[in-house]
C-alpha cells in the first residue's frame, strides 16, 4: 500500500451521470437543440427548470444545475423522502454509481480492466488493473 486519497465528489461528467441514471433505470432529459431546458417536478404544482433532469418513477424528479465552475449542483424536492427512496439520501446512491461510471470511463480510455463488487456496508469496491499503470 502506497498512496491513499479521499475525494469529495463533484458532479462534472455528464456522460457518467447519464450512465449512472440509466443503470438505476431512470431517464435523463437534456436541453433541447433550441435551448429549452428540461423541467423537474416537485411538491404539488411546483416545477423547476434545470440543465439536466433525471426523471424519477415517483412523483418528484431530481435535477442538476450547471455552475460557473463547470460542476453540476443537484436540486430536488426532498419532502417526504420520495426522491431519497429512489436515489438514496441526498442522492447518495446516484452519486455512488456516478463515481463508478467516471472511473469506468477513465479506465476504458487507458485500456485498464475494471472489477466491481459490493462490500458489506454498501460501498462499491472498484479495482483497476492493467499494464498501462506506471
Amino acid at each position: 500500500m502506497s498512496h491513499w486519497t479521499t475525494v469529495k465528489t463533484q458532479i462534472k461528467d455528464v456522460q457518467a451521470l447519464i450512465a449512472a441514471a440509466t443503470e438505476l433505470g431512470l431517464a435523463v432529459e437534456l436541453p433541447s437543440p433550441t435551448g429549452q431546458r428540461p423541467v423537474i417536478r416537485g411538491y404539488a404544482t411546483m416545477r423547476q427548470e434545470v440543465d439536466l433532469a433525471v426523471k424519477l418513477k415517483g412523483r418528484y424528479d431530481v435535477g442538476f444545475l450547471k455552475q460557473p465552475d463547470g460542476t453540476y449542483q443537484m436540486t430536488a424536492d426532498w419532502w417526504q423522502g420520495h426522491v431519497a427512496a429512489e436515489i438514496g439520501a441526498e442522492g447518495g446512491r446516484l452519486c455512488q454509481v456516478y463515481v463508478f461510471h467516471v472511473i469506468a470511463i477513465q479506465a476504458r480510455k487507458k485500456g485498464l480492466g475494471v472489477f466491481r463488487s459490493v462490500t458489506d456496508d454498501g460501498s462499491l469496491r472498484v479495482v483497476l488493473h492493467g499494464r498501462t499503470l506506471p
Binding site: H3, G91, Q106, V127, L128, L133
Partner: protein, 64 residues
C-alpha cells in the same frame, strides 16, 4: 502486482488507494482519477512511498 482500488461509500465519496507501487509514481497514477472525481480532501503516503531509496536500515525501521 500494481493495482488501484477505489472504495465508493453510499454517499458517493471515494477513497483511492494505489497498491504495489513506490514513490511518486503512485501520485501520478491517481492524479487523473482525482481530477475527474472532485476535490481531494485527504492524502496519506503509506510506507512504500518512502521506499524509493531503500537502505537496509530503512527497511528494518519501516517494518518494525
Amino acid at each position: 502486482m500494481t493495482q488501484v482500488v477505489v472504495i465508493i461509500d453510499p454517499d458517493g465519496n471515494a477513497t483511492i488507494e494505489v497498491q504495489g507501487m513506490t514513490g511518486s509514481a503512485c501520485t501520478d497514477a491517481t492524479k487523473a482519477l482525482e481530477e475527474a472525481l472532485g476535490v481531494v480532501t485527504k492524502t496519506t503516503n503509506k510506507i512504500d512511498y518512502y521506499r524509493q531509496e531503500v537502505t537496509r536500515a530503512d527497511r528494518i525501521r519501516t517494518e518494525n
